[in-house]
Symmetry: C2
Subunit: 372 residues, 2 copies
């Protein structure tokens, strides 16, 4: 039985690392981008395509699944894989992110025990605390399970973040004591917002507790670009070196590069599928642009991104994709999402290769334009 996480190679100059995470449903080669299947399906992309894009793990949202169809139903199906037929590894978040966004809109009550909230579908009152979150995630059966943390908004004041750091620690302890299924692996989450000392405090408290991996939460939830990158580059390297490091909720190519450069292994974001539904695609520079731009109307010669090897760019032209988008043909959401997922996944694959080939600094240099 191999250990849960092994580092295969570390870039001696930057500390970027390539590794392997062993789960019951397959091996995850890191660094890796994880597509988001909020309600049990990556929005607009069928599972066969997700598999062909070489996604190695997907994320599902505990909040959405507990509301519908409910963990009891998924448990009866035999867990997330048996239910959804995505046979690779799953990660579930704790539900905290969604319920705290209710709290920010005044639709939830938080105290030291957890959160009471009205769901947005049936208006029922629910309570989720650390034990409830663990129990739901246990029944969903994901390979990687996230601790229940408090995630305040990016612009929250110091006092709010202090409270969140304290609760996150207390709840993390409860989560570590919760008996999950044998194949499940708990990750703990560091909070602290944009306050450096609170980040340090949270990191110290959280990493004292034993877990299979550690994550930075509350990143890119409304802070400035500078604040996001400061947290990523200062904090990632302080997470335990021998455990997977996961930066939650980031999915701009630049963020992935800064993350790997800082020693992170895992990333997730709804961005590639969400922007697809609004006609957005990652361009040459891996920023995103709109497929409805003016000069695409009659461009029957070029793919979205010249030289891109994704199935969409290898097949379709700008003019055709723009037409489908303007005419609201839903296949275009698929074609654009495939392109966007391919770009992010291959960015992580390329970084992994560069680390293995002892040329990660060269990779950075070559891709500096992505960072500008």
């Amino acid at each position: 039985m191999p250990s849960f996480f092994e580092i295969e190679k570390t870039c001696p100059i930057t500390g970027a690392r390539a590794g392997k995470i062993h789960t019951e449903h397959g091996i995850i080669e890191t660094p890796i981008f994880m597509p988001v299947a909020t309600k049990g399906s990556v929005r607009g992309v069928d599972w066969r395509t997700i598999s062909e894009l070489q996604a190695q793990i997907v994320l599902a949202n505990t909040y959405h699944l507990t509301i519908r169809p409910g963990e009891a139903s998924i448990e009866r199906a035999g867990g997330l894989q048996e239910w959804s037929k995505w046979t690779g590894p799953f990660l579930t978040d704790s539900g905290g992110f969604q319920v705290f966004s209710f709290a920010r809109r005044g639709q939830a009550k938080i105290d030291d025990q957890g959160v009471s909230f009205k769901d947005d579908l049936e208006g029922k009152i629910h309570f989720i605390g650390p034990n409830e979150s663990m129990n739901i995630q246990k029944r969903l059966g994901a390979d990687i399970v996230m601790a229940f943390d408090e995630c305040p908004a990016g612009n929250a004041d110091r006092k709010t973040v202090e409270t969140a750091v304290r609760r996150t620690r207390d709840w993390a302890e409860k989560c570590t004591n919760f008996p999950l299924q044998k194949h499940q692996n708990l990750f703990l989450i560091v909070q602290g917002g944009k306050f450096e000392d609170l980040r340090e405090k949270s990191l110290e408290e959280i990493t004292k507790l034993d877990a299979k991996g550690y994550a930075l939460g509350g990143v890119s939830v409304g802070e400035s670009r500078e604040e996001v990158e400061k947290v990523i580059s200062n904090m990632t390297k302080k997470l335990p070196i021998n455990k997977p490091r996961y930066i939650m909720g980031i999915g701009m190519p630049r963020d992935l590069i800064v993350g790997v450069l800082s020693g992170a292994d895992m990333f997730d974001c709804v961005l590639p599928t969400r922007i697809a539904r609004h006609g957005g695609y990652f361009s040459e520079g891996l920023r995103f642009k709109s497929v409805s731009q003016k000069d695409f109307s009659d461009d029957h010669d070029n793919p979205l991104v010249i030289g891109c090897q994704c199935p969409t760019c290898k097949t379709f032209t700008r003019a055709y994709l723009k037409h489908l988008f303007l005419r609201k043909e839903i296949t275009v959401y698929y074609y654009l999402a495939v392109h966007n997922l391919f770009r992010l996944l291959n960015l992580t694959f390329d970084m992994r290769k560069a680390i293995f080939n002892d040329c990660f600094p060269q990779f950075l240099k070559k891709n500096l334009y992505l960072l500008s």
Copy 2:
């Protein structure tokens, strides 16, 4: 160079036939169901999947394409195949069906020259007559081109249908005189509504004109089931025996069986993709049912249709698909459309096999339940 159409086998008892249509973009084995790609994409299903489902020809709508992106743009791309990257044969309708439905809503003016109408996107005034329709279709470049006909509603009075029959004949003559691209093949359309004598008259007039194939139009446009089937079974067999026979706009499994039994070769309908977007799927009996039915909520054991060999039924359960549909996850429109297209396509494949194996009457007997 093989002839455009060859009959490979005819059922000696029923007259049902299996044949081959040779086009520049591939061979079409008949009888065949043609998926509809209204605006240049089968709604919700990517081209790779359409190809894997063994679709052999798809239909695109002249009206929608002339409004956006316009035939000039598609012509510059090199025609429908180069533009959309569906490399197999295309058939375009004449645009008549859509503009006459405007007329029925009082948004168009018809006279003996053609139809003036306001498009529903930009509100511009357009005129389409037989020459305009032929010219647009020439520029779109489809392999099979439909004559510009007048298609009155299923409940139209005798006088209206009489006028439509006359115009359809006059316009058909103009269409046959229009020089299309070398690889294009013109089909003429028989009208006459539910009036037997007008159907006979239209058929006699239309089949006097030379064309590569003949179609029954104005079927299933608001008449009763009995009227639809009477027209199919009475008129199909009177179309020239040595040319492809196409019944336009029908896509219920029962209609395809009655059509083939009556000697028809080609069918099209938006039904399989349209009902998918409303959660509909062809059930065991090939009627359609809703995926949101009550007893699917916790059915983690069975596919939509037990024994179905389509990619959706081979992978997913009723409970999962119902969940995706209730949560408006757009992948479910793909999964259901794949099932529905598979069922109709395979129904035509099965009938073709039965005709070849001299057992079409047995096929009918075995599938009588589809006809009840």
